[in-house]
């Protein structure tokens, strides 16, 4: 019976699926399941006499543990290298019926796969940790039911808290900066929990030690059976990026504001002279939006000639790398509108120092230019007037001086003269001197009148009507000299002039033509008139003696200049009409050939009324 029992017991143990061994107090295996023996590579027939201290190695430590008579587990490995296997054995005291410890029951599991998995997990965790450290992305997890919040190390680092810190939701939200950031995160977390809305937002936190920083906070719900049970999220330190971005944006804004509000036209062109940036002033000037201007060249915007010049300037700057500064340029837009600019073109270099285009700056100086022209005009007028005045002063002083010299000379003679006949002769001379002084004064007065009489206004006059009037007044004179007048002027030709001046001009030119007619032929006077854009040219030609212009050209319109030996040549007529014409904003010229004739051209100014 006992043997049967034993065999049955032995058999039972042998068949146990879990590797089990019974070991006596001395460590000798008294019985073991095949599976246990198999783990250690022991054949069932060799099972008797196997000592576990030989199998588990560390005999002293194990022996001590066993002495404590308590159940414990032990991880150990067997085999080497490739065949290495991890095992876990549980040692439990073996009692007999009388509760006396008679040995140890060992149960052993092959846990190689579990250990492998654990190691794999450890590796993955390590990678994750490294990754989050490198990318500065921390993660967190919030379990709704337990209200437990988990922060990874990186998350803690971002918040500047100790690795031992235990977070909770309230504190976590309090880390966000009061105001927008805190309100926003609270709202986002709330709606993620209640509505399952994921979020990703740039917000500001204040770290444990009071540093403000930008983070990118993201979160999404984790569902279990369609129910939100957790929130999982990340937090990334983006302070450097955001502050850099903000700084760049700030700079950009400053630059844009500066460029746009400069009262200058600013543009940037690439190497092909295409516009790649334009400011507000440039857009307004070209009457196009910035979008429409980008990519355009000057050929698209200006007259071809202007664009050509501009392109040449661009090429010069690009070639020489030297800026073109403050050059006066004229831009003519397609619609023909011209603008004067003070233009600068500055070479633009890329980050590697290579030329990449140019910066253009243009200042509209049209108004200034106009003012300058006006000023120059005024200076010209003033200097002409001044010259005239000096000239006139000389004439006056010369003429008056010559008369006064004569007077004083004659008076001295008279006072010393004793001969009565001679005295009478001197008196006669004095009378003559007095007459010619009066005449001179009258002539000078006439000139002064012309130059000071600003009240006389021009009016449209029929040129032929004025000519007829002069011819009528001169009829006896013309008849006596057998003058033939050829009038080619259209009947309705009108001219803007002061009436008295027009009469004086016609009278003087006609009488001059007759006075200086050739003794060899009857005088023929031809009159023409031609309307120009801003002037009317009135010409009087004769077939008279003509004037040696090379010799007298500069004196012909001077006062008291006569060139022909004629008793009635006084040298005042042309001087007076020149003054009259100039007072009306016109001019007079002469063409002549000696012994052929002369042509006087009067340019009436039809612009200034």
């Amino acid at each position: 019976m006992k043997a049967v029992e034993r065999i049955a017991q032995h058999y039972l143990l042998k068949q146990l699926p879990k590797a089990t061994a019974l070991v006596a107090m001395d460590g000798m295996v008294s019985d073991a399941s095949d599976s246990w023996l198999n783990i250690f590579g022991i054949a069932p027939k060799d099972s008797i006499g196997v000592n576990i201290f030989a199998l588990y190695g560390e005999s002293d430590a194990l022996r001590e543990k066993l002495m404590e008579s308590r159940t414990f587990s032990l991880r150990h490995c067997i085999g080497k290298e490739m065949d290495k296997r991890w095992l876990e054995s549980t040692f439990a005291p073996w009692y007999d019926e009388k509760e006396n410890i008679i040995g140890t029951i060992i149960q052993t599991d092959d846990i190689s796969r579990e250990v492998e998995k654990e190691r794999e997990l450890e590796k993955v965790n390590h990678i994750l940790k490294t990754k989050s450290e490198v990318s500065q992305v921390g993660c967190w997890e919030y379990t709704i039911e337990t209200e437990e919040l988990f922060w990874c190390d990186e998350t803690k680092k971002i918040h500047h808290v100790d690795p031992s810190y235990t977070p909770n939701v309230t504190d976590a939200i309090a880390f966000y900066k009061q105001g927008y950031s805190r309100n926003k995160i609270a709202m986002l977390v709330h709606s993620a929990i209640n509505e399952g809305t994921p979020f990703n937002k740039k917000l500001t936190i204040v770290t444990q030690d009071g540093e403000e920083k930008w983070v990118s906070a993201a979160g999404k719900p984790v569902l279990e059976n369609g129910k939100i049970v957790k929130l999982f999220g990340t937090i990334q330190d983006i302070n450097v990026q955001v502050t850099t971005e903000t700084r760049i944006k700030h700079h950009q804004q400053l630059l844009t504001a500066l460029i746009d509000n400069l009262p200058l036209n600013v543009f940037v062109k690439d190497l092909d002279s295409r516009k790649i940036l334009v400011n507000k002033a440039e857009c307004q000037y070209l009457e196009k939006s910035a979008k429409d201007l980008i990519g355009k060249t000057d050929f698209d915007l200006y007259e071809t000639e202007v664009a050509k010049i501009s392109r040449e300037e661009d090429l010069e700057v690009i070639r020489t790398l030297k800026p073109m500064l403050g050059k006066e340029t004229i831009s003519i837009k397609k619609n023909g509108k011209a603008t004067n600019f003070l233009t600068s073109k500055i070479p633009l270099f890329d980050l590697e120092g290579k030329i990449s285009g140019l910066i253009g700056i243009g200042m509209d100086i049209t108004a200034m230019k106009k003012k300058e022209d006006q000023l120059r005009n005024l200076i010209n007028i003033t200097s002409v007037q001044n010259k005239k005045l000096i000239n006139f002063a000389h004439i006056v002083s010369h003429n008056l001086r010559s008369h006064s010299a004569n007077f004083s000379m004659l008076l001295k003679f008279l006072s010393e003269e004793e001969n009565e006949t001679e005295k009478a002769h001197i008196m006669e001379m004095l009378n003559q001197a007095s007459d010619s002084l009066l005449e001179t004064l009258e002539n000078l007065n006439q000139v002064v009148d012309i130059n000071t009489n600003v009240t006389l206004s021009k009016q449209p006059l029929n040129l032929n009507l004025s000519i007829s009037k002069v011819r009528q007044n001169l009829s006896a004179f013309l008849e006596k000299n057998k003058v033939n007048i050829i009038n080619n002027i259209p009947a309705d030709m009108m001219v803007w002039s002061v009436p008295a001046y027009l009469d004086s001009i016609i009278l003087n030119l006609v009488t001059n033509a007759v006075k200086y007619s050739s003794p060899d032929r009857n005088p023929i006077i031809t009159m023409d008139a031609k309307k120009g854009e801003k002037t009317l040219i009135f010409s009087v030609s004769d077939n008279g003696m003509g004037i040696d212009l090379e010799r007298y050209g500069d004196k012909i319109f001077g006062m008291y200049k006569t060139f022909h030996n004629r008793k009635d040549a006084k040298g005042i007529g042309l001087y007076i009409i020149k003054n009259q014409i100039e007072a009306m904003g016109g001019s007079i010229t002469v063409n002549s050939e000696v012994d052929k004739g002369a042509t006087f051209n009067v340019y009436f100014n039809e612009e200034s009324k």
Binding site: H394, S408, M409, L410, K412
Partner: protein, 141 residues
């Protein structure tokens, strides 16, 4: 009062103003003895006469009274032409003018240097004739 009467072979007066001509003639009378006093209305007339005299080898004027402002040919143009004639005989030329224009004075200075003859500058009115107006003693000595 001691008056020096100088014998002058020929005198030209070139002026378009009859009063000035009258005056010159009058002040000449007490100081110069001359049988050949010629009056010209302008430079051209005087020049033509002078040219004729050089061509015909006649008496060249010793003294010329020359106005500046004249029609046809003024005093300066006359001087220009006279210099070109290259006359061997020395002439005393008295420029008579009422002009106080500094430009005329400047022009006179320029002409003085390039003219081989004596060139005086006299402002009107003429009250009397200086000895230097008739004689180049000062220059010759």
């Amino acid at each position: 009062m001691y008056i020096l009467m100088k014998k002058v072979s020929s005198i030209f007066i070139v002026d378009d103003d009859p009063i000035t001509v009258f005056g010159i003639k009058k002040v000449l009378k007490p100081v110069a003895m001359c049988d050949d006093v010629q009056i010209f209305q302008n430079g051209k007339e005087a020049f033509d006469a002078l040219k004729e005299r050089t061509e015909k080898d006649q008496c060249i004027p010793e003294v010329i009274f020359l106005d500046i402002n004249m029609p046809i040919m003024d005093g300066w143009d006359f001087l220009e032409e006279l210099i070109r004639l290259d006359i061997k005989e020395h002439i005393i030329i008295n420029m008579i003018t009422s002009s106080i224009d500094p430009l005329d004075y400047q022009k006179w200075n320029e002409f003085k240097d390039k003219c081989p003859h004596t060139l005086n500058f006299k402002n009107k009115p003429i009250f009397k004739i200086e000895t230097s107006d008739l004689d180049s003693i000062n220059m010759a000595s």
